[in-house]
Every structure is written in C-alpha cells, then in structure tokens.
Amino acid sequence: QQQVKQSPQSLIVQKGGISIINCAYENTAFDYFPWYQQFPGKGPALLIAIRPDVSEKKEGRFTISFNKSAKQFSLHIMDSQPGDSATYFCAASSPGNTGKLIFGQGTTLQVKP
C-alpha cells in the first residue's frame, strides 16, 4: 500500500507565526509532491508543488522543504494570516500516464488573530 503520512492532524498558530506541516512517504518512485489547500465547503486547490531534484521551493509566504534521503517533505507558511485558516493536504505522484495522486490525511490549520 503506497502511503503518505501527514502530521499534525490539527494546528493552531498565532497571526504572524510560522505554520509547519510535515509529510512522509514510502515509495521512492514518487517524483512529484504537491500541497493542496482546501477552504470549508470548497474543493482542494493546488498551492505549491516540488520535484525531488530540488530541496526547497518558495512561492511568496509558502515554502516546501524536501529531504529525499529521509523521504520527508514539509510545508512552511511564514507570517501566517487568519486567511490561511484551511485544511492542507500533501500528496505524491509516481511517473506514468495516469496522473494519480496519493493524499495525506490532511491538517486543519487555524490562525488566530
């Protein structure tokens, strides 16, 4: 069973703080690692993604750190804002022509004003 394990399940951060969500994977064939953001009542939407040939990718306040040897990757949200309050999912995908994603269990982030 290919798995992606995500932690923590929930996270409360003060406005302006750093939110960190972690994921670990088993399948070394995975070559694409996205993070999706989901607001209540909406479908998930791609936030940021990384491939294993780089160790870090930054887009605005969002950064993915990738550790290939440890088979772990994490999402860092700098200067967290109340508008970042959402559920975050990590995912992983293998090469091939199906585009299938294996999702982590999700992390509910609450940013307190």
Binding site: G43, A49, G99, F103
Partner: protein
Amino acid sequence: NAGVTQTPKFRILKIGQSMTLQCTQDMNHNYMYWYRQDPGMGLKLIYYSVGAGITDKGEVPNGYNVSRSTTEDFPLRLELAAPSQTSVYFCASTLGGSREQYFGPGTRLTVT
C-alpha cells in the same frame, strides 16, 4: 470557463437506493478522477479515466461504477447505497502531462 462542476451539491439517500453523481469539465482535460473525502482520512481515489472510453479502479472502487463517454463528463454511479458511502465526493481533472488537478466543489452525500 466554469472549470469542474458537480451536481448535486447535497443529497440524502436511503439504504439501497441508487444515484448518479454528475461531473463536467470545460477545460478539455483528458484525465478525470473521483475521490471521496472522509474526516481525518484525506482523499481516497475511487475511479479515474485517462480518456473517453477508458476507466480504471482506484484505491476504493467497491460499491461504485463509472463511465466516460465524452471528454467533458465523468459520472459516478452508486447502485445500492450503504451508510459506509456517506462522504463528500470530489471530481477532479487535469491535462495529461500536467500533474495539477483541478477539483470541483464537491457533493455531500448522506446515506441513512
């Protein structure tokens, strides 16, 4: 572009009833997916399709069926609804070669 649309938004079914969840995309994406989302469990792939006439099982296909007769539509069929199928269902699509999946707004289904 409307993107990925799903109908209905909400539905309550009795045990044993059947229904079809509709999914349509107007982005000319060839790949489409059905997921279910349960609290604390993430999204689990039910079925997927890489083009019209081509479908395959995902991680949790039991109790569901799909068809793909056109590029735009990918309906999900529940034949004999069971309480275990109470969930939020999401349809997604992408263009082959791209890994970014675009999700619909979801259908919340309750089976009682």
